[in-house]
């Protein structure tokens, strides 16, 4: 007999975020009304955040198969074979809403969550990245958000001892009131040590391990499924506080217990806490569970069943093991000063029952909770796309070049991120190679002795393009991430995505979502990189204005064998420069267009996927030649920004650039166009022939465009005309100082 002290009705269900139809569905399946705790379980598990009810049908379009895939989407993280019996485990996840309410703790617990997703799979985390989007720099709240988020990420990752090695930061007014914090972590594991989250083996016990449960974050999942409004204070559950120290202990205890064979299966308690971890583990194994909530280690008095089930206290795990292994398991957790308690047992019958204080408080079919009905979301193409695509090309054409360059660079999006990146420990683990915070970070895998192997990591997304043409935005995020890896000599092997969008009940948002996913799918298929994990964050709106679609991509690449890493800067003052790819590129959706017209405009040109694939292959082969060269992909800000960044990072302060634009070629398109794929290459003149030969053999275009100089000038010429001749050091100083203001 189920305890029915608290009667529920539709009104209460609605308060908890369920629809009337959903409530009705639950009552029919149960053949009775759910009690309060059961309703809470459903409200969390039916939320967008946990159920993916709007996005799941679209996500099926993503390619998830491939010869290297050991684990695709569906587990805590994806797994890709890297050879020698080893695998890389990775995932990216959003913590947008919590980071807006409390930037420091929100970002910190975001890092904590993604770390747990990776070590739950048995992998030792070796690298983290983050993708951040903030509102306008002139918005007074932006500075506090940047400071809090960056400190939160740093304090958590630094303390646990996982290096933060790359990332992306983008400022745009569309994120005023709804910033994005996407955290990526990758870990290493031997194939045979990969753990999965499945509650199999009737009679096996369920063990609660890690930090104690408090009331923090009760209903966090439902909050992440609501939009913010500046009018009314959003519902604020108690903010979860991250404890990186406990996380580090949990990491070590978990890996040690796994290595000693004391764990059969394991899942972290993330969004919707014990509820989602228990129901999901039972669902995967097609078993049932019985839990005794009295056994849960709690740190607050008088917690109700509802609170125990929906608490989002951090740093907790749910472990399945055989009863006779419990003593060993407990000894390991004792060693690390952590709790471990038996809280339940696996049963037959695909049902979860829970008792608390002598009463049965939950009695529900697993399927009802774990597989809620999907939501049918209508799609419709925005009516204003044609207007967005209009760009007054003539107005640009007649403006003097120097003025365009000056405006292009006059943005916080063109800034040296060092003041930020120095707050992250990028070296702990002793794997990080070369300059970190280049296009992609490269880590040697010191634990693999049989063969030199390195992994490369990059993250990318261009929200402007996604807004103007979401399908192209999806494609470009993939291709640019892949190029970021390829310019360092790495072969892309796997993708994780974090899809940040607005309210899915808005058909235009859903259309953009669907288009983006299809763009990602097209590009992944063309490049033959599978998506093995990901995350969706919807309801990123303020006052019904959605953010730009932001499908943030995290990509992993592999470097096999001994090869020198290419430079990512101008490593000399007598180098030749060439664009690999087309000389001219479209200004649609470019940084210049935004900086000039003060709005994102123009129609972005489509990425040539076959050409991208050839270019990636070419870059891979070039890296194997052990020739000294530098490579940098051309993206936001076009050739001008790419060349300046390479000059700024030169070891010689006198390094300058001269770009010679051939006659009858559109100057703006060469300098500012952003069509993908294009890469800027710098090499010693004597290597030109070899590079050109490889280009023609690889069917990629080679366009010599200029050279480096020792004049410390950024110079553009066409024929005899000097179109720009500006001091590199002056621009560099401005570039270096922009971010300092955030951290003073």
């Amino acid at each position: 007999m189920i305890a029915d002290t608290q009667i529920t009705d539709v009104a209460l269900a609605k308060q908890l975020g369920l629809t009337a139809q959903e409530y009705d569905f639950i009552c029919r399946k149960l053949e009775r009304k759910p009690n309060y705790a059961e309703l809470g379980i459903c409200s969390a598990m039916y939320s967008e955040h946990c159920s993916y009810k709007s996005s799941k049908p679209h996500l099926r379009k993503l390619p998830t198969q491939g010869p290297r895939v050991l684990q695709g989407p569906g587990e805590n993280a994806g797994a890709i074979d890297i050879g020698e019996g080893w695998a890389v485990i990775f995932k990216m996840e959003s913590h947008n809403h919590p980071s807006f309410i409390e930037p420091y703790q929100g970002a910190a617990t975001g890092v904590g969550g993604i770390l747990r997703d990776v070590f739950t799979m048995g992998a030792r985390p070796i690298a983290s990245m983050n993708g951040l989007c903030f509102g306008s720099e002139t918005n007074p709240v932006t500075h506090g958000l940047v400071r809090g988020v960056v400190k939160g990420i740093g304090d958590y990752g630094n303390c646990v001892g996982v290096p933060t090695v790359a990332g992306q930061t983008f400022f745009h007014p569309c994120y005023n009131g709804n910033n994005l914090v996407n955290a990526f972590t990758a870990g290493l594991v031997r194939h045979e040590n990969i753990f999965r989250a499945s509650a199999s083996g009737v009679g096996n016990i369920l063990v609660y391990a890690g930090a104690k449960t408090g009331r923090d974050g009760v209903h966090g999942a439902t909050m992440a499924s609501k939009e913010f409004s500046s009018e009314k204070e959003p519902e604020r559950p108690t903010v979860q506080v991250g404890d990186p120290f406990t996380e580090k202990l949990l990491l070590e205890a978990t890996l040690e217990a796994m290595q000693k064979g004391l764990i059969q299966s394991i899942q972290d308690m993330g969004a919707a806490g014990l509820t989602s971890s228990s129901f999901e583990m039972a669902d995967r194994a097609k078993t049932g569970l019985h839990l005794n909530l009295d056994k849960i280690p709690s740190r607050e008095h008088g917690m109700s069943a509802y609170e125990l089930l929906l608490s989002e206290s951090q740093e907790r795990m749910l472990i399945v093991t055989q009863e006779d292994k419990f003593d060993g398991l407990k000894a390991v957790f004792d060693k690390w000063d952590l709790d471990a308690e038996i809280i339940g047992v696996i049963t037959e019958g695909k049902k979860v029952t829970m008792t608390y204080k002598g009463e049965t408080v939950v009695d529900m079919p697993v399927d009802l909770v774990a597989n809620p009905p999907m939501a049918e979301r209508p799609l419709s193409a925005p009516s204003d796309l044609k207007q967005l695509w209009f760009m007054d090309r003539n107005q640009l054409m007649v403006a003097p070049l120097q003025q365009k360059i000056d405006r292009l660079l006059d943005t916080i999006n063109f800034a040296d991120p060092t003041p930020l990146t120095q707050q992250y420990d990028s070296m702990v683990g002793n794997r990080t190679e070369g300059g970190t915070f280049d296009d992609a970070a490269v880590l040697r895998l010191r634990e693999i002795k049989s063969k030199p192997l390195r992994l490369a990591f990059s993250t990318d997304c261009n929200p402007r393009i996604c807004q103007l043409d979401p399908r192209e935005g999806g494609r470009r995020a993939i291709v640019e991430s892949a190029l970021n890896l390829a310019v360092r000599g790495a072969t892309p092997i796997g993708v994780t995505d974090c899809l940040n969008f607005g309210n899915p009940e808005n058909p235009e948002v859903m259309w953009r979502f669907s288009e983006s996913v299809e763009g990602i799918a097209e590009a992944c298929e063309a490049l033959k990189v599978p998506v093995v994990s990901g995350n969706v964050s919807l309801y990123n709106d303020t006052d019904s204005r959605p953010i730009y679609p932001t499908p943030m991509i995290g990509m992993v690449g592999l470097i096999e064998g001994e090869q020198k890493l290419p430079y990512s800067n101008f490593f000399g003052t007598e180098l030749e420069l060439a664009i690999i790819g087309n000389l001219e590129a479209s200004l649609g959706g470019s940084q210049l267009a935004y900086q000039w017209f003060k709005r994102d405009c123009g129609q972005p040109a489509a990425t040539d996927l076959p050409a991208s694939q050839r270019m990636i292959k070419f870059l891979g082969q070039l890296a194997k030649k052990n020739m000294a060269y530098a490579a940098h992909d051309i993206s936001e800000g076009g050739l001008v920004v790419a060349a300046l960044e390479m000059a700024f990072r030169s070891p010689y302060p006198e390094t300058g650039v001269e770009i010679q634009i051939p006659s009858r070629i559109e100057i703006d398109e060469v300098l500012f166009g952003e069509t993908c794929p294009r890469v800027l290459l710098a090499y010693a003149p004597e290597n030109r022939v070899e590079i050109e030969t490889l280009c023609s053999r690889s069917a990629v275009k080679f366009n010599k465009i200029g050279n480096t100089t020792d004049k410390a000038k950024f110079k553009v010429t066409q024929g005899l005309a000097v179109l720009s001749d500006m001091s590199v050091s002056t621009v560099k100083e401005t570039w270096q100082n922009k971010w300092k203001g955030f951290f003073n």
């Binding site: 400190k151 740093g154 304090d155 630094n158 303390c159 646990v160 001892g161 404890d243 990186p244 120290f245 406990t246 580090k248 202990l249 060693k335 690390w336 000063d337 120095q422 707050q423 992250y424 420990d425 990028s426 070296m427 702990v428 683990g429 002793n430 794997r431 990080t432 190679e433 040697r444 010191r446 951290f743």
Partner: protein, 221 residues
């Protein structure tokens, strides 16, 4: 030659230290656990690694300095055994009273991770005898609490005794007198904020100077 690396709860550069001592220096390296109280007499060198013992809660290194193993470490040091503290290990040594001074929050109030240029103040020590006094040594730092605090009179005395081994050329954290690494009067205990174990094979080999220095002493011992 056998050396030991101590793991405290929250240590996170213990793996890096073990890797460097074992793979790069080629020394037999044991891991020691803070709750144990083993005999340490078989070790030529003990390393207290970097990280965030006890989460850096309360004060960096304060709780680790009270670990059960620390009684043994103190006895080991008193008997002339060589002890090295890197970053958090340096903080632990100061908190345990094995080194003078204390480490406080960086004056920027921010964590900072970068390569810094150090000046070798003296090579009259077991830890720097392989280096040249006055030379520049570039090593990475990664800390939020590296501001060394010492009274001027104590500093003068330590300097006179060649206890100040490394100083920063561009002070990154507000340390008094630019101090980056110090040893005790007997010179068998050394603590520094920079990470030589992160600069011994991959990013650079500058950290090898420290290992070669102590190796020559240990081999003679």
């Amino acid at each position: 030659m056998k050396v030991g690396v101590i793991t405290y709860p929250g240590s996170n550069c213990d793996d890096d230290a073990v890797y460097t001592l074992q793979e790069t220096c080629g020394w037999q390296t044991d891991r020691l656990w803070h709750k144990d109280t083993p005999s340490l007499s078989e070790y030529k060198l003990l390393v207290l690694p970097g990280g965030f013992s006890y989460g850096d809660y309360l004060r960096c290194g304060a709780m680790a300095a009270l670990s059960p193993i620390m009684e043994n470490v103190k006895a080991f040091a008193d008997a002339g055994g060589y002890v090295l503290g890197i970053c958090n290990g340096f903080q632990v040594l100061c908190e345990a009273g094995l080194l003078p001074g204390a480490l406080a929050k960086n004056d920027s109030l921010r964590f900072v991770c970068k390569d810094v240029d150090l000046k070798v103040e003296t090579n009259d020590s077991p830890w720097t005898n392989f280096l040249k006094a006055g030379d520049t040594l570039s090593l990475p730092i990664a800390h939020g609490d590296g501001r060394y605090i010492i009274e001027e009179s104590d500093f003068a005395q330590m300097r006179g005794r060649h206890q100040i081994l490394l100083t920063y050329q561009n002070n990154p954290n507000g340390s008094a007198f630019d101090v980056a690494g110090v040893c005790n009067e007997k010179k068998n205990v050394f603590g520094l904020m920079p990470h030589p174990e992160r600069a011994s094979d991959l990013r650079s080999r500058n950290g090898m100077g420290v290992w070669r220095s102590i190796q020559s002493v240990l081999e003679k011992a």
